[in-house]
Symmetry: C2
Subunit: 302 residues, 2 copies
């Protein structure tokens, strides 16, 4: 297998100014894998409870997603409940039920251990380390994290950061990680922690890619209807890593294209609740929106 993702598979209840859904399919690994599956075959490492609806498994199987690493254990599936205001930029978490996720002990099936690209979604950095131990020298490892681990498990997080190639976080998390406001300085400081590449996601403002000697700035797609931002960041990571897994080219030019494809996948994700938009999305639409990004950002030399 080319690409593997470890993270959560969840049941989300979400309220936005445009509607409300209850116990729908969610989770970082779910969004990541679904977005990545438009580019390559991808394996999920996650855990669900015995109550996890079969229809969700059926949906994931319609995509080139490998579910051998999805453990089903006694108990209830991880649940998250949150809401968004009109600005849609930040979720307010109303309830988190870890349930079976509390005892999550990621075990990679033998086929997964040779994955060339690995995405460590936002989970306990100790578990991220545990997953890395089970892999056999992947070519590229990317990591996401959040304020909860930056504050509460800093030491373990710094240890994983020393072992990954790419960090993909939002602007608030990036600033918190190195205690600095200015994003150019933030970029430089985070790259000192080990990773060669940093991507800062800025929601409706796009994304920035930092390497030691270049910055690439990508806008977000200006959408007329943003329905539900849940999963946008993981869909971005899925498009980004999916393209890299398919092309096996980690040069700057291809990294830039991967960022745009990540933005395209995030833009589709937020057009509907849960993963609904991905049930109808076709590859030609992805290419079409990529071209719109190109038109939208292009300007001539003077």
């Amino acid at each position: 297998m080319n690409l593997l993702a470890v993270g959560s598979v969840a049941l989300d209840s979400v309220k936005t100014p445009f509607g409300e859904v209850s116990e729908v399919l969610g989770g970082s690994a779910t969004y990541f894998a679904t977005a990545a599956s438009y580019f390559t075959r991808v394996g999920i490492v996650a855990v669900v409870g015995a109550d996890f609806p079969k229809e969700h498994v059926t949906f994931l199987k319609t995509r080139p997603i490998d579910l051998e690493g999805l453990a089903v254990t006694d108990g209830r599936t991880f649940r998250w409940r949150g809401e968004y205001g009109y600005q849609l930029n930040e979720a307010r978490t109303l309830e988190t039920q870890l349930n079976v996720f509390q005892q999550f002990n990621p075990q990679l099936p033998p086929d997964y251990r040779t994955a060339e690209l690995v995405f460590l979604a936002n989970i306990d950095p100790d578990l991220q380390l545990e997953v890395l131990k089970q892999t056999r020298s992947p070519e590229l490892v990317a990591l996401d994290t959040m304020n909860f681990w930056i504050d509460g498990k800093r030491e373990a997080l710094l240890k994983v950061l020393g072992k990954v190639n790419i960090v993909i976080v939002n602007d608030g998390e990036a600033r918190q990680l190195v205690q600095e406001v200015n994003l150019v300085k933030v970029g430089r400081e985070i790259l000192k922690l080990g990773p060669k590449i940093l991507i800062i996601k800025r929601g409706e403002y796009g994304a920035l890619l930092f390497t030691r000697d270049a910055i690439f700035s990508a806008p977000a797609y200006p959408l007329e209807t943003v329905f539900d931002p849940t999963g946008a960041g993981d869909s971005f990571a899925g498009g980004f890593m999916g393209h890299l897994a398919r092309t096996k080219d980690f040069g700057m030019s291809n990294l830039r294209q991967a960022v745009i494809l990540g933005s395209v996948m995030a833009s589709y994700c937020v057009e509907a609740f849960s993963l609904e938009r991905f049930r109808t999305l076709h590859s030609e639409e992805i290419l079409g929106r990529y071209r719109e990004f190109k038109r939208m950002t292009h300007f001539e030399e003077l």
Copy 2:
């Protein structure tokens, strides 16, 4: 004359996390004209008091700026005092002394009346209308405004909007103008009010240009040291309008280049207090940063 700007010439007292200055040169017309003067000759229509320091007049005269329209009247010059927090995104106004600006009655010298491009900086929409009456069918008129006029002088503002070609405002003002959060809808609604072109400035997130059938998205230059954001928006407008006045090409490709040049001028503006950075800025630096914008945003077709 090619380009004329009506607005304020002021003495600013500004405090940022990086320092503090008292009664330094400021004002919308000042920032606009100084930035535009790198591209074309520009005339100022504004008023100052008898106390306005001669050194500021001397500085403005070192640039291709025409001061025939700068009235000097009895009384004190317009003064503004404000401060910025670490986020540097929004000024907190601590004091506004209108002084001679209160009786500002813009009079265009005969030479100014045939200006081909006109910039109406953020002043009372009734005064913006008065200025337009004194011009002889300019080719392109751009307008800036603010929450104070959107709330308090809506009718007069809508009247001016029906007579201008370009609106240049920040995202908060744009949203307030048409009572809508989503920027794509905001763009469409504002273009219905008359202007053919809308530019939404988003500070550290760049700028969006809307026409009836296209959107252009430009990032801001990622600066390591942002010293003082005062005047960034007017410097943007100055670079934008200056380039258009110099090239007399109002096609989409040239408008995009003008937006990038506006962003370049804004990025230099914020590197120092007041207009200090413009005292040393050379044209080659502008071209160099334009090229960096190109490198920073470029990606290949798939």
